[in-house]
Amino acid sequence: MNASLGIFFVLAAVAVAGAVSLILQRHPIHCALSLIVVMVALAGLYLLLGAEFVAAVQIIVYGGAIMVLFVFVIMLLNAGEEERTNFSKIAAYAGIPMAVAVAGLIAAAIARSSLPPAQATTVLTSTKSLSMLLFREFVYPFELTSFLILVAILGAIVLAQREGN
């Protein structure tokens, strides 16, 4: 077993453990911390794949901005432990088998396919070709995302302001 395979299995185990912890925890703040563990493990996997710019964006935007927003809302609403209600029978008897079936179908389709192994490219060419693509072929979608962000900011302000002002 070579080194990169070992690192992959360690990071994959951390990511899956974080996701399972997200399901099992009762308090929202513990769920948020579990999700941060998953995101950091995924950033490590991106580094292993040689996508270091995506790894940095993952840490800064997901681990930093989005999760801070989540923790801030949990704090603002003073969210306590979630109450156990008698959840619907459909979720118990149809939902879990369906989720297992979806994951199993995807995994079976992947296992039968033959793909070239993920090759970590050299660090410089990866980010360079990424920026070339982003600012040449995908420049119009890239500009459109700025409008999307602007609309999202306005929407968030309109939604969150107090009524009557």
């Binding site: 929202p28 999700l35 995506v54 964006v57 809302v73 969210a79 993920a118």
Partner: protein, 100 residues
Amino acid sequence: MVPTNYYLILSAVLFGLGIVAFIFKRNIITIFMAIELMLNAVNLAFVAFSQAFGKSDGEVFVLFVILVAAAEAAVGLGIIILTARNRRSLNVERVNLLKL
């Protein structure tokens, strides 16, 4: 080197766990986190494919997914704050205004 299939299987497993969390959780904030987990699982598949075929297109899509997730988080959490203020609860089963 790590085979691409391993990354894709990990991505499928994380997506399945995201679906399970989405079904099981009752807290509206935690359900939102399950959606983020599923988006992350798809991002991993994008990057794995992009490296497997030696093209950067997949990584560009990952950047767009992260951008949309950021916008979604801003608007979604605004809606969550509004819902919590009106219903005085974060439990999704108490948000049943449209139920007959």
